[in-house]
Amino acid sequence: MERTEQMNGIGTQPGRWRLAAKAAFPVTIPVLTGFLCLGMAYGVLMQGKGYGPFWAVLMSAIAFGGSMQFVAITLLTTAFDPVQAFLLSIMVNARHLFYGLSLLEKYRGLGKVRAFLIYTLCDETFSLVSTVDPPLEVAPRDFYLCISLMDYLYWIVGTAIGGILGNFLTFDTTGLDFALTALFVVLFLEQWKKRENRPAGIIGISCAVVSLLVFGPDNLVIPAMVLMTAVLLGGRKTLCT
């Protein structure tokens, strides 16, 4: 048994990781495009405020929070107020609470890897992990780790590139970040394939649209989350069947 596993490369460490990386990389390509693009934009903006690549990369590596990092650029150019930064980060990132709830099962019993998966959990990683199943020959833990690590590195590398050579870019990248919108549309369609997911999908879109109309584009996330949770809980008996 052991021998055959080794011959297949499944039991050996390098073979195992190569398989996992090979399975994970293609699904992360849209994130690669989007993160390089947005990460570069972030590096360039930080540079413009006098914060060189060192600071931009440090922020990306430690905080790793896409939209909040853009908000934080403003905070870095006004009076020093870390408490405000802390509270604002909680509000801007409140949607992560949902991701954690949804991944309690998948991230159960994954040992040391688990801390890293939670530390780097973002919109894109959550969307991929919750929608795409690992191939049979790859352990879920390895697959999740590869996706998380790749997405994390794309963001840091993008930030570094933007900070270092952002001003020399000549290629017009306007609209390239649509890759992330397209990714979420596709992952929504993948969820839609399963009939039992459809009511929840419709509830998600409707609650977000209602919240957008009522609270405006800058404050849509938290009301949408509250509304969505209320509707999903209210419809639990109907949706459970």
């Binding site: 020093f80 930064a85 954690g100 709830l101 639990r236």
Partner: protein
């Protein structure tokens, strides 16, 4: 730089602490060795589809329907992604196709 290096570092740590709190909280509230309540398991099952809908809306939140180009580039590109995906079912093709079309639209057609 507006802040001193020490202040900047503290700001980075503050942003990281707030962000990490939102990532860790569910896992701290419902530890691995205990079964979460049924209602939490239920939410965990239905939320991904709902959240994916929220994320689509979130990405399109700043599109103005009342000002030229009236959200047309986004509408056309999202429609292209949906049609490509229904037709070929290839994730990368749908995303690349939609993105290239969107870039063409905002850079050349509606520029």
């Amino acid at each position: 730089m507006y802040l001193t290096p020490m202040q900047t570092l503290l700001m980075i740590l503050a942003v990281a602490a707030g962000t990490q709190l939102t990532r860790w909280l569910p896992f701290l509230l419902f530890p691995e060795d205990r079964r979460p309540p049924a209602v939490v398991t239920y939410l965990g099952r239905v939320l991904p589809a709902a959240v994916m809908g929220l994320l689509v809306v979130y990405c399109l939140k700043s599109v103005s329907v009342f000002q030229a180009p009236y959200g047309l580039p986004e509408l056309v590109a999202v429609a292209a992604v949906v049609i490509l995906h229904k037709w070929k079912g290839n994730v990368l093709l749908s995303i690349a196709g939609g993105t290239v079309l969107y870039m063409l639209l905002v850079q050349a057609v509606f520029a």
